[in-house]
């Protein structure tokens, strides 16, 4: 299962007259970390929602390894190996960490409904297998000790980690992270940066939305800058840092 390449070409989205994404073209190279940055409201999350099929696109193409996925239902996009986390963490608060992560493993369960209703051994086998896989992921993201704790009581950083583990449980080829470092302290961010690099090294393409420029510079191979729903710049962290338009549009507002 190889890392996937994602290509957006002139993708657009508007909401009742409000242009959320005007025209975005970008490529997230296979096996690399690409960052999508830009001021608040520049259309980053909307772009991610279109990639995952939650919003239909108004125009343009979204291609995963050359296959257009813009018209697919979200679960079909997920089945092609696209997983994500949410900016406003979406976990099942009353359920345990492990149960939350197991939801990501849903599509890899092999028991049929009939197996389940008849209580056949295949059910147990498939469940044991997926549980073991999810526990390994909890270990990977560093929350193995929280396995049986209801996620509603976890810290912000830990809940973001549960979301990453759940996304990894789908066994993605492309992982989309929407502001994974938001609300984390310095030490947590360092650990998260290492985790993102480890995920990349597992052969998973990463597309990352993040406001923390230090964090972005540390993990990204390539950066795309959005402003008012258009990409205004792209390049390596070094290149992007020096572009005047970026400083004006993004860093400028950040400092203000």
């Amino acid at each position: 299962m190889a890392a996937a390449e994602l290509e957006l070409w002139q993708v657009a989205k508007r909401f009742q007259g409000v242009v959320a994404v005007d025209s975005v073209s970008l490529t997230a190279a296979a096996g690399k970390v690409t960052a999508l940055i830009g001021p608040n409201g520049s259309g980053k999350t909307t772009t991610m929602n279109m990639i995952t099929g939650l919003y239909p696109t108004d125009a343009g193409h979204i291609r995963l390894d050359g296959v257009d996925i813009a018209r697919l239902a979200p679960h079909k996009v997920a089945a092609l190996g696209v997983a994500r986390t949410f900016q406003n963490i979406r976990l099942l608060a009353s359920e345990t960490t492990l149960d939350n992560v197991l939801l990501g493993a849903h599509r890899h369960q092999s028991a049929s409904l009939l197996d389940v209703l008849l209580g056949l051994p295949a059910v147990k086998r498939s469940e044991t297998r997926e549980k073991a896989r999810c526990e390994a992921l909890l270990d990977l993201v560093g929350i193995a000790a929280l396995r049986d704790v209801a996620v509603g009581g976890l810290s912000y950083g830990d809940r973001r980690r549960v979301e990453i583990a759940r996304a990894l449980a789908t066994q993605p080829r492309l992982l989309l992270l929407d502001e994974p470092a938001a609300g984390m302290n310095f030490a947590e961010k360092r650990a998260l940066a290492d985790l993102v690099l480890a995920i990349r090294d597992m052969g998973i393409t990463v597309l990352l939305i993040e406001h923390d420029i230090e964090f972005v510079a540390r993990v990204s191979d390539h950066i795309v800058v959005l402003n008012f729903g258009r990409e205004i710049a792209a390049g390596t962290p070094e290149e992007v840092r020096r572009m005047p338009s970026v400083i004006e549009a993004y860093l400028g507002t950040e400092d203000a």
Partner: protein, 293 residues
């Protein structure tokens, strides 16, 4: 021992049957509620199942079991046909569409004299439904719901109930699962309709309106949707209580209203939430299912 049981059934048989029947119905409705489908279609599915099975036994002379299954299957088929479009509607529109469906069925029942007996209904239906059959069906339903809840399907259904957008992004076929559950709920409701018809000697259009649908919803909601035994507890509670309150029928209605209100207001998680040991805050936290992001 057997004699004692016979004696008990002789005096309370009807009540026992009613409790069992409503328990079965409660699990049928639970199937829909479990995935956040607040269906007012139950009355309609029951009517379809009831008239169909009565047609099978009385007009076609089919065996009882065949008739009940046929009633359930026809209701399931109807659920499949209306489910595909209706499930695309959001929350309240879904509820109102299922309400409109139930009314369509009721009005058809009122007018299709040849099959439904029109406003008068059908009298003299042979009494085939027996207590042991109902017990058996309730046990089967309990086992199925138990097995479902504890499997990974149970996990994805619970996730759909709490956040369908997120579930879909995680690879759960939300529409497919909802449709399957809606059809299963239609099947059970239709089957219960058939069983009820062959228990009461009579079916008529007024048996299956809006109130029937809301009553059926009240069973699992009052008992608790999150607990395996919730629907059963809710069904038995609401069925037995009016009988135990030996007042005039008016006072019974008043007290039932008060009691249901009390349960709703003091136990927002349903009666079974009493038994669970979890801080109220976490249990009562409302899911957010609106929109992506």
């Amino acid at each position: 021992m057997m004699a004692a049981l016979d004696g008990f059934l002789a005096s309370y048989g009807n009540l026992v049957n009613l409790c069992l029947l409503n328990t079965l119905l409660a699990y049928g409705v639970w199937l829909a509620l479990a995935a956040n489908m607040f269906t007012l279609g139950t009355g309609g599915f029951m009517a379809v199942g009831a008239y169909c099975s009565v047609y099978f036994t009385m007009q076609l002379g089919a065996p009882f079991a065949v008739a009940v299954v046929a009633g359930g299957l026809l209701a399931a088929a109807v659920a499949l046909v209306i489910g595909a479009p209706v499930l695309r509607l959001r929350g309240d529109y879904f509820m109102l569409a299922t309400f409109a469906f139930t009314e369509v069925v009721r009005v058809i029942a009122l007018n299709w004299d040849a099959v439904t007996g029109g406003a008068i209904g059908i009298y003299g239906i042979p009494r085939y439904t027996e207590t042991w059959q109902l017990v058996l069906l309730v046990l089967i339903a309990l086992y199925f719901v138990f097995a479902l809840r504890r499997s990974y399907f149970g996990r994805s259904i619970a996730a759909i109930r709490q956040d369908d957008v997120m579930s879909e992004a995680m690879g759960v076929n939300v529409f497919g699962q909802r449709l399957s559950l809606f059809v299963a709920s239609g099947f059970v409701s239709g089957g219960v309709g058939g069983l009820a018809a062959h228990l009461n000697f009579f079916v008529g259009p007024s048996d299956f309106g809006l109130l029937r649908s809301v009553d059926a919803l009240a069973y699992p909601i009052l008992g608790g949707v999150n607990a395996l035994l919730g629907p059963m507890v809710g069904a038995i509670f609401t069925t037995l209580l009016p009988e135990l309150l030996r007042f005039s029928s008016q006072w019974r209605e008043i007290l039932m209203g008060l009691l249901i209100l009390a349960v709703v207001l003091f136990l927002p998680g349903g009666a079974m939430s009493l038994l669970r040991w979890r801080p109220r805050k976490a249990a009562a936290r409302r899911p957010s299912t609106q929109g992506a992001e």
